[in-house]
Subunit: 217 residues, 2 copies
Amino acid sequence: MNSFQPTERTQVKRLPKRGVYDRAAIYKILDEAFLCHVGFVVDGQPYVIPTGYARAEDTLYIHGSAASRMLRALSGGVAVSVTVTLVDGLVLARSAFHHSMNYRSVMVFGTATPVEDAAGKMRALHAFTEHVMPGRWEEVRGPSEQELKATLVLALPLSEASAKVRVGPPVDEDEDYALPVWAGVLPLQLTAQEPVADPRLPAGVAVPDYVRKYKRG
Amino acid sequence: MNSFQPTERTQVKRLPKRGVYDRAAIYKILDEAFLCHVGFVVDGQPYVIPTGYARAEDTLYIHGSAASRMLRALSGGVAVSVTVTLVDGLVLARSAFHHSMNYRSVMVFGTATPVEDAAGKMRALHAFTEHVMPGRWEEVRGPSEQELKATLVLALPLSEASAKVRVGPPVDEDEDYALPVWAGVLPLQLTAQEPVADPRLPAGVAVPDYVRKYKRG
């Protein structure tokens, strides 16, 4: 299926022209970001917890170590909402009212279930590491049996999802275009700064290329 | 009150040393970021919606135009969870297991209520604009009466909040420090790129300093 079927929960109702249901377009956003906000309900109270994730095929893996209360709540298999947001720019209009942001955000709904088997956990950990830092997995010590046991991985099938995307310049009221106010977009990007070596790093270990040249998207 | 009293919902239970309850430290994070993820429950289903916000004194204002379903749900005064997350760096350990992120995240719980009066809305819109782009409000056309009516602003008192912060180098297993693997932190920062002028901008309108020199934090 190349597009997600919009559901009551995923259909973009406000500004429907911003809605995206194409699977490839949604996966591209999920693959560029690496932080999600997981929403779940405990005793009627909503919680929103930031955590890392990775996608492999049509599954979203959530790193379960974010908070014990998330683990407790989700390992029973409860409804979650996972949102991933990339801010691409500040949209500066001529009126305060029409200021906006350019962004790409994905919302996924479903039931997360724990990955129990060691092989499945290993695949998910590989996906996490390579998602955040491609090239890293081959260089580091792999997870021990004990570390695998201490890791909780949740799997969420990518079956109900949509994205919302805003691009382009501000949209102002006709009569405001003549105002002598600078208007346009200030693009924003999450960029890597100079790597900071661990104080305990032995002399002579060079910064790998995949760290020096790190770039998302 | 200079510190938030930890509650059942805000106490950082996993890795309690990362918990921050100091009001000034929490406000500093809220003032550096500008995107939040709002969690709320409709018919038992959690929703997590990204939207802009601003803080003024001990109130968090949420821009209500994010989604009509959020407005419908929240204008009745329901429990929300607002999470703000800044990613400061990728923590590269010698083992896959100990990879982490440096981050600062704030969680706020409470009940959001709509700001109904025009003066209150005006204050909130001023706060939004100046929070995202300091210096902007004075230059642009202010909101008309009609625009104020079309704007929904939600206010959430900052009375129940906590932050979770990770800083510093990776923490590896003792026996792994001898591995010839580069380890350390790759700092990440949301940085402004070259401003892109609106195609309809009249000639001769210069990019303002507050745009050219834009920087968060």
